[in-house]
Assembly symmetry: D2
Homo-oligomer: 364 residues x 4
């Protein structure tokens, strides 16, 4: 119940620092009987892995995950699943300079004020390296949801700095290093990133994530609404500064007659709700969108202070992503999967014997 666990029935607890010995997690609450192997997780880990194109950090991590428990004869047993990824390419020397410095927009200063002491190597626990374990755990949830319930979870980059995606072609998402669903924007993105890298600057991004096939009825009013728990999970991803569900901030200027998703026997006529009404899933696709801030580690000098409060000029020379949003798509998918899995089990616990005669409407 301290801060490194997410979920109530399907719980994921992670540990590990950017430059420590290893990253790990414990998944507790996975139902028994699910076929599971390292390969199921590796697919998603490889999508998040650094160094797969020139547009991400050149740190080389194999990110090979090992299952240490909870799986027997190829199937989950219902007991906790221990996962481990050893760190292999941590060059701590890159970071020795900054032991005494607080870099702007990093967690250096806040960790020091919280703990009075910090692992300064590569951001320690605050590094996005921790998200590797989220992706591994999310892959377990995703497999269950897909195999048992036919739910698919897919994400894409919807905006890279000023470049907005205009087409959503799911087949394109994995054809380029950006998770961009619009083939007409890829060249523009490449050029933008090349210029940015030359410049030494970084840029923000927007990621959308959609879950199809979620049945109506999941989510627990009033505080543990599905969308509230999703907002928690997505906002907990490094660098995220905003979360929307459905129409999101566009709702501000919508009138009721426009926003309300009318229903007919054939289905809903729109999905401004993003698949959640009153905190409970409606059977429509769950649609969320997140804003990621630009990477804070820049080789362009910035003003910071040191541990004594003196001004310093900070230049970050390690290997960093110029746009953390690029690798964030699999992470957002993983968090969606974890929240769905948790709410599926919670709903089943409380309402397993509810029978509903009202028909499920067609999805839009």
């Amino acid at each position: 119940m301290s801060g490194n666990t997410i979920g109530k029935l399907f719980t994921v607890t992670t540990f590990g620092e950017s430059h420590g010995a290893a990253l790990g997690c414990i998944i507790d609450g996975c139902p028994p009987g699910l076929e599971l192997s390292e390969a199921d997780m590796q697919r998603d880990l490889d999508r998040r892995k650094p160094g797969t194109s020139r547009h991400t950090t050149q740190r080389r991590e194999a990110d090979e995950v090992r299952i240490l428990s909870g799986v027997f004869e190829g199937k989950t047993t219902g007991t906790p699943i221990g996962l481990l990824i050893e760190n292999t390419d941590q060059r701590s020397k890159d970071y020795s300079k900054i032991a005494e410095q607080f870099r702007p927009a990093h967690a250096d200063y806040t960790y020091m004020h919280k703990y009075g002491f910090r692992d300064y190597r590569g951001g320690g626990r605050s590094s996005a390296r921790e998200t590797a374990m989220r992706v591994a755990a999310g892959a377990v949830a995703r497999k269950f949801l897909e195999q048992r319930l036919g739910i698919t979870i897919r994400g894409y980059l919807s905006q890279l700095g000023p470049i907005k995606v205009e087409k959503l072609d799911w087949d394109q998402v994995h054809q380029n290093p950006f998770f961009c669903p619009d083939p007409d924007k890829v060249a523009e993105m490449e050029a933008y990133m090349d210029a940015l890298r030359k410049e030494g600057d970084s840029i923000g991004a927007r990621i959308n994530v959609v879950a199809d096939g979620v049945p109506p009825g999941w989510g627990e009013p009033v505080f543990d609404r599905f969308d509230a728990d999703l907002a928690h999970a997505l906002m907990s991803i490094n660098a995220v500064k905003g979360v929307e569900v459905g129409a999101g901030f566009d709702s501000v200027e919508q009138k009721g007659t426009e926003h309300r998703d009318e229903m007919t026997p054939d289905g809903f006529l729109s999905n401004n709700a993003g698949g959640v009404l009153g905190g409970i899933t409606s059977g429509q696709p769950i649609a969320a969108s997140i804003a990621l801030k630009p990477t804070s580690s820049l080789r362009l000098p910035g003003r910071g202070i040191d541990v004594h409060g003196n001004p310093v000029e900070v230049i970050t020379t390690g290997r960093h992503d110029p746009c953390v949003g690029i690798r964030a798509t699999p992470i957002a998918e993983a968090m969606m999967a974890i929240v769905l899995m948790d709410h599926y089990l919670r709903h089943r616990g409380q309402n397993a014997d509810v029978s509903v005669t009202t028909p499920v409407l067609g999805q839009l």
Copy 2:
């Protein structure tokens, strides 16, 4: 741990339906020795209360709160505080028509699929009436934070449909029925709302909420980041579809050199972070913004279905707010207060003996 509790050390559990006998809540974890009376809560309850202007629902609820436990000789004892508000103006007859109908954009359809059964009177548990108890509980947290730690929490309406606020004059916020901080926009808002009411439609809104005086170091990485828990709390408010912290969605188009809040010995030079770095408070003001969808209850007919799946024309004739955002400012403040209080206690629990020599920077 079911869905009606928020917080880990400072926990708030609510009960009650729109048209039931009463609303109530239990605050567990309030430190002992805080002077507390009903009047402390009534001030905030009155700000949220319906029927205070022609722009909100005409339902008349006194919203008088009673303290049933946890306070002795005018001070909190450290044991749970039981609070109760009796419902006095519930006209259930208004709702009898819709027992068999699912209204678009309401929780009717999703509650039915979750529970197989629902209290259809005024939305039952899904009604925003539940937020009265949040405001009462938030007032307790707010009093502690103000009195013991000098923290102030203030909110305002930053946008009403198409009308964006341009000035932030805190003194104006309580001079008009909208919580609008810009005196030049109030007349425009009044005219807009009058027209809307005539039309029978509703409109969305945006609320901003700011906490000043929060020290650095609160928040628990990695899942229970301060901003993640805040996003959860704010998204759990009825009608909220989006949450931003700091620069929020503007971060998407920002470059790193622009977004990163540089630090000098005199303080931070900007606050794009919204007071949270790596999930931990930085000592800067905590700044969040939420999007509220337009009210779904309209007297303009909309397409819905009934419990058997047949099409129906839905017209809502009860007493409703044409803009739920108008009364949401005290609710957003309350949720900010609850999350702050909880993280204060959690931080104190884990790190009470941490001594930090690094100076606290001046706030922007």
Copy 3:
């Protein structure tokens, strides 16, 4: 998650002091569709109620419970159930003397050291009066378990001071004021209690509680074992100093060949396990036993100290039970019911789709 909530999916949160305005609780997680009225709770409340014989405290409390939410048209809706009992016979003047004193074996001294401040009227929050709400909440769990799953929960007094029960005749339990299942011991108990009351002293007791009809498979290894959660729940009852499951402390002197409950196709041959193996229910009756210390409030003078550390002679003149164990049977049953209900929902959440071909053995 502060200390006044029990359960994870079926959660009960209580508030209220001995001499405050009211006691209350919120039951969160009760499945929808259960027929429920105040009468269902009143039956158990009346069994716990003070003043029903000369052997219990003469305080007169009607203990009338009101349902404030979560029930609509006579059925639970799945939303939180708010319950309230107003205190009607609190004579606070009886307690004014002890505001400055710490009575031996009471929580006065420990509450002061925890909170620095206490509601001294009748023990405040530490009073066993709080257990009324446990009984009310337990009655809801019990009704579900009985009606839906055929589980019965029954308790009895197995020892009153030196008097050990020798026969277990369930029909006798409600024929006497002690919940004694052995008709041959009732007269002895009456005489013992009459002498004790005259003497001004108090006595301990042992209560047994048994749940029949619990299917195999409930309980979550490794920390939330069914028996561990049951021990928690039972030890949380005022005055309880020991908890046993199955053979309990007799296990210490048992050999493995004696203790192990052998299995045949017709069923288990013994129940030393008390219905729990590896933390999971076995399908046998769940059997637990608890030790209750003698009441600490005595009119016989005892040595205590005052708030300044000076010695005082303490004489307690209020109305008290000379044996708190006498009224504890319904409370122990209630705690058993709450733990069973919680684990039923948890098991269902994680394992709802598990199919087991191994036959369920006959119970002993």
Copy 4:
């Protein structure tokens, strides 16, 4: 929040099976700045380790623990501590016979009914091998409690089958393989165990555990009482069937004048309470006692059934402890340490600023 986590602010989550690749755990909530190395844990692990005398299982496990995260430059950082112990001596072939059998008094039958599927090698998750991680985690808590607060936690074997300890000489506890504090009983225990081993049978035991130096005020009424949480933690240890605090079951026959621990300015005059009043620590030593059942794995044949419900004769030929109680002393100490640490942090969170003028009484 599934079943493999204990604690609320100081949380311990374990994973691992008897014959899987490794055991591990995550400690979340350890305060920063504590000096910690593997050696701190190894000392306690070695005390629990199998194979150190002829009276315990001959399985040879080095039980070498590795710290994977949360410690930097020899000190805890406040972030989660990942621990790992690789299994090195798992001879799975020993267990292949029992894949289809349910052994009496084991968790085989209950796991099958819970999960529909089980890791049958050495009991899988239900094996007491899991307790190695509890001991490792407990060592971290113990170090903090000792170093920062001067609290010492010590346990001993108080009864081995029929042999009751009569003297408590702490210096003797580590001079014999039984954790027996009475030098006069050691030879008797050795002879008893030798005979038992020859016979092929097993025996129960009783362990006492005491914490000295705990200040008054820890524990959260009403459900999370210190003693209730301790009962939960102790009952969650494999083979435990009973838990007592203070006078425990002796309270049943005590009168109030005997049981109540009178107070004088010099201190308490007795400790029947076992250091807990109203669920809150009193400043006296915390004293608990547990009953452990005899080992269920015997080479003497017993009646069981197979997965199809047919009768089988079960003979267990693996390497087992004839008295699981012998190695349980470090485990009981570890659980006491974990509960103390958690309640220390919780108390500090809620009550860090409470100032109490009442003096702390001398301990008995």
